[in-house]
Structures are given as structure tokens and as C-alpha cells.
Amino acid sequence: MHVIEIQGLSKDYPVGFWKKQLRPALKPLDLAVEQGETFGFLGPNGAGKTTTLKLLMGIIFPSSGSARILGKDFHDPEIKRRIGFLPEQPYFYDYLSAPELLDYYAQLSGVPQTGRKQRISEMLDRVGLGDVGNKQLRKFSKGMLQRVGIAQAIIHDPEVIFLDEPMSGLDPLGRHEIRELIQSLKDVGKTIFFSTHILSDAEALCDRVAVIHKGELRGVGVVNDLRSSAAGKTEVIWEGASALGSVSNYALEPHVTGDTVRATVSTELLDTMLERLRQQHARLISVTPLHGTLEQYFLSRTSDQEPVRV
């Protein structure tokens, strides 16, 4: 079963003062996330990531389409007990302390009174806020608020967790800790859907990613496959353009700059090619195995010059 199933979900906003025109913030989106998957929702600023999450949470209503979460319609209050949400740049009731805030949210999510206190202090420890005591949230730093935000998203032990840019506002250590926390949620089988534009985080955590740009889904990929699509290739740079003729069967996409040549080669043919280059007295400058990166995928999906293949 798909835990999250988005079917043609879209959102238009009216623009202009006099002539109200509709501008799509999200074009009809179809997406499915499986049980236990960590799914990265990538896209540049203004791509429509937050819009998608707000639609899924019932904060705004779609112009068309619908979604199913845990097999039920996404507006069904019952499923909200089983999901958690961290908004982007979260802000909370600043007259409350962190334990009070979590207690309030736990009540709203139907966490029973017994053991709630215990759970709250465990949760605060878990997000690295074990020592904040009863300080009011108005005195919290941005990173501390982000941690409170993550705590409130998981206080009721949800099965599906939606995070809108969970790493924003955190220092490098904080980012590392939150990464570990997300990993630990993943390890216990939670389904995690998070938006980000920090590709290294997505690469480290996600099983699959979707790239969205200008409100449009540009591609969905399995992170391991993306890595290996460029894998198995090696970049070779040498001096001696005259040698190119003898290796033209092996050298892919050769670029000649003056007397220097840069080309890629399949790794199994590397030895043969190097042998030939030596015979031609070409001077080797470098041999570098290539790794596909999420970044290359991301850039290829979000640059508008390239034809869009979904």
C-alpha cells in the first residue's frame, strides 16, 4: 500500500489587482510514497514545496485533485492522529515553555495523560533541548525553535512525518543531530516526506527524491540509481591532442583545449585506452573515477534549457 498517494493535486493563486488571473503555484501533481520510505521533495525557492505540504495538511484547499494518506482521504481527521508535521520556519506560542507547548500539542493529538510528562522530557532530550527547563519560547534562538518544531512533529509517535526544510536555521552540529534523528525515525520504519534544497541531506537520508520546479514535477528518482548512472565511468585528461585519433573508439565526449584533451571512458576499457595513449606518447595528467551526484540530477531537472523528460 502507498502511504502517501497524491492524485492530480494542484493549487492556483489569483494574481493582479484588477484582472484576476490564476497563476499555478502547483500544477497537477501525482506522486506516491511507500511505507517506510524516506522521500525527499527537492526544488529551488518558490518551486511549490511548501504549497504541496500545506495542501496535504489541509491548511489550504486544492484547486483540483486530492490525496490519500494511510489509505484514507487526506482531510479525514482520523489520519491526522497518525501524521506529524513540521512547518517551515516554525513559530510557536511564545508565552509557553517547551514542555508546556509539547503538552498542549500532545493533548490535541490525543496522547493520553498517563506517561505524557515522561514522553515530553524524553522528546526534549532527543532533540537536544534537555536542559531548557521552563524558559519561555520567546527567549529561544532560531535553531532551538527548529528543534522544538521537530519535537512537536513527533510527540504523538506518528507513522508518517512531513517535514518542511527540517535543517534550516541549524548550525552544522545541529544539522548533523537532526540528520541522525531522522535516520533513527527511518530505522524504526517511519515514513518520512521532507522538503529541502540541501542536496547533501537528501542524498544522505533519502531512498527516493522528487524534483519539482515552477510548480511542476520534473522527475522522480531512486537515489542509489542516480549515483550509479554516472558510476562506471572515469574521466581522463592528457596532453597530446594528436593521440585522440587512436583512442576515438573509447573516448566519450572528448573536449580539446589547445593540446589538452579531456574525455570520459567506461571503466572496463580504461586500461586499454591508457595503454594506447602511452604508445602515442601522450602525457597523462589525471585519471578520476566519476560518481553521479544528486546535484547533477537536480541541476539537469531544474535548468530550463534542457528538454523536460518526466
Binding site: 500545506k54 491548511i59 492522529r81 512547518p87 493533548q107
Partner: protein, 258 residues
């Protein structure tokens, strides 16, 4: 009351308390108590009348002003600061949010009225040295003030469910003022003709009737009030508040948040 509703109610109350709105009032009450002996200097006989009028009017007007002041921000602030995101992503129905906010503000105003009333009776005791049955009679006016709070809170919440805080404040305050003259409006409607009559009648029934809830003049002079007035006013305030709150819910249910 379900646990989500009570959680929202109590959190709304807690916010008001921590915002120190209530403390301003406590200062007012203390001032009233402290100035009680001064009323005695004005004139024998008028002393009680002035104290009762000032005290009861303050309880009503202060409550209404605080109601409007807090009420205009109840919904808009949660939208503005996006705290609603973390509420609506939980099993909280939108109506529970509105009704919880409503109860929370009413609770705040009731607690506030109780505190002010205690101060008022202390002032009365200081100036008269004893409390009589006539003083107990004054409780009816305080009870009616609470009924006013029920209505003004609902009205403010209705405006704040679709409008900005400034406009909500203006609308709610305008309705309060018009409602104070509801009797005049009804008389005018009865005397008018044609379209004017139609509009005036509609307006007279739409505005909250604060005129019939203001019995301060009567109780100050210890005039008897019929039991039926109490019953009718209670029913009226409950029905009016319920209808207006339902309107606020209907609007909010459909609203796209920023």
C-alpha cells in the same frame, strides 16, 4: 467537552493571563477600592448611587473592551504567526478551534468580571460598613454583563474570522455602540415606512441588543426586575452567541490560510 476543545480553551485563557491583560484590571479594581472612602465625602445618599453606577458600568465596559481587544487577535494572530499550521495538522476540527477560542475568551472575561466584582463589593463594604439585600440585587447587573460578554466575544470572533484586526475592532465596536441603542433602533423601525422600515427592522434584529441587558439604573435604585427578564435575556444571549459563532465557523471552515 472534548479534550481538544478544553485544551484550546485553557490555552487561550493562559495566553490572556500571561499577556498581563488582567493585571491592568486588577490595578483598576484596587483604585476603585482605594477611592471608596472618597465617595463618602461627596454627599450622603448619593454616595452609594455613584459607587454602584461607576462600579457596575466599569465591570461591563471593561469586559467588553477587553473582549474586543483580545478577540480581534484570536484567529488572525494564529494565522499571521502560522501557529495554526501545527494545530490544523492535528486531529483538530476547524470548528473546535473557533469554539475553543470562544470559550477561552469568555472564560477570561468571566474570571475578570469575578475579580472586579469582588473588588467592587469590597469598595461597597468599605463605604457602607455593611452589605444589604439591595447589594445582592446588584448581582443581576453583573450577570447581565456576562451575557454581554458572550455576545461581544461571538461578534468579534465572527469579524476576526475573515477580516483584519483593525477592521474587526472597528466593526465590533460599532456593533457594540449600535447595540447599546437597540431600543431606540426598534422604536425607529416601528415608526418608519417602506424600505427604511424594512432595513431598520432587519438592523434592529441583527445587532446585539445590549440595551435590554443594561439594568444598572434599575438595580442602583433597587427597582425590582422580573424573573422573566432574566430568563429571556439569558435565552437571547445564548441563541445570539450560538448563531454568530456558527457563522464564524462557517466562514473559517472554507478559508485558505496564508
Amino acid at each position: 467537552m472534548n479534550s481538544r476543545l478544553s485544551a484550546i480553551t485553557l490555552n487561550t485563557f493562559r495566553e490572556a493571563v500571561r499577556d498581563r491583560v488582567l493585571y491592568n484590571l486588577i490595578i483598576f479594581v484596587l483604585l476603585l477600592v482605594a477611592s471608596a472612602p472618597l465617595f463618602g465625602q461627596i454627599s450622603i445618599g448619593l454616595e452609594r448611587l455613584i459607587l454602584v453606577n461607576v462600579g457596575l458600568s466599569s465591570i461591563s465596559v471593561f469586559g467588553i473592551l477587553i473582549g474586543i481587544f483580545i478577540g480581534i487577535g484570536l484567529v488572525s494572530k494564529e494565522i499571521e504567526k502560522k501557529t495554526l499550521y501545527t494545530i490544523l495538522s492535528r486531529p483538530v476540527r476547524r470548528w473546535e478551534f473557533i469554539v475553543g477560542k470562544y470559550f477561552g475568551l469568555v472564560l477570561t472575561l468571566v474570571v475578570n468580571a469575578i475579580l472586579m466584582s469582588v473588588g467592587f463589593y469590597v469598595a461597597l463594604l468599605i463605604s457602607e460598613h455593611k452589605l444589604t439585600g439591595a447589594d445582592g440585587h446588584l448581582l443581576i447587573a453583573i450577570y447581565f454583563a456576562v451575557l454581554e460578554f458572550l455576545m461581544i466575544t461571538a461578534v468579534t470572533l465572527l469579524f476576526s474570522s475573515f477580516s483584519t484586526p483593525i477592521f474587526s475592532a472597528i466593526f465590533a465596536f460599532a456593533l457594540f455602540v449600535i447595540g447599546t441603542f437597540a431600543t431606540d433602533l426598534r422604536n425607529f423601525a416601528a415608526a418608519a415606512h417602506g424600505m427604511t422600515k424594512w432595513f431598520a427592522t432587519a438592523a434592529a434584529y441583527a445587532v446585539p441588543n445590549f440595551a435590554s441587558l443594561n439594568v444598572i439604573g434599575q438595580v442602583a435604585h433597587d427597582q425590582p426586575l422580573g424573573g422573566s427578564l432574566i430568563v429571556m435575556n439569558t435565552l437571547y444571549a445564548l441563541l445570539y452567541s450560538a448563531a454568530v459563532t456558527a457563522g464564524a465557523v462557517l466562514i473559517f471552515e472554507r478559508r485558505n490560510l496564508k
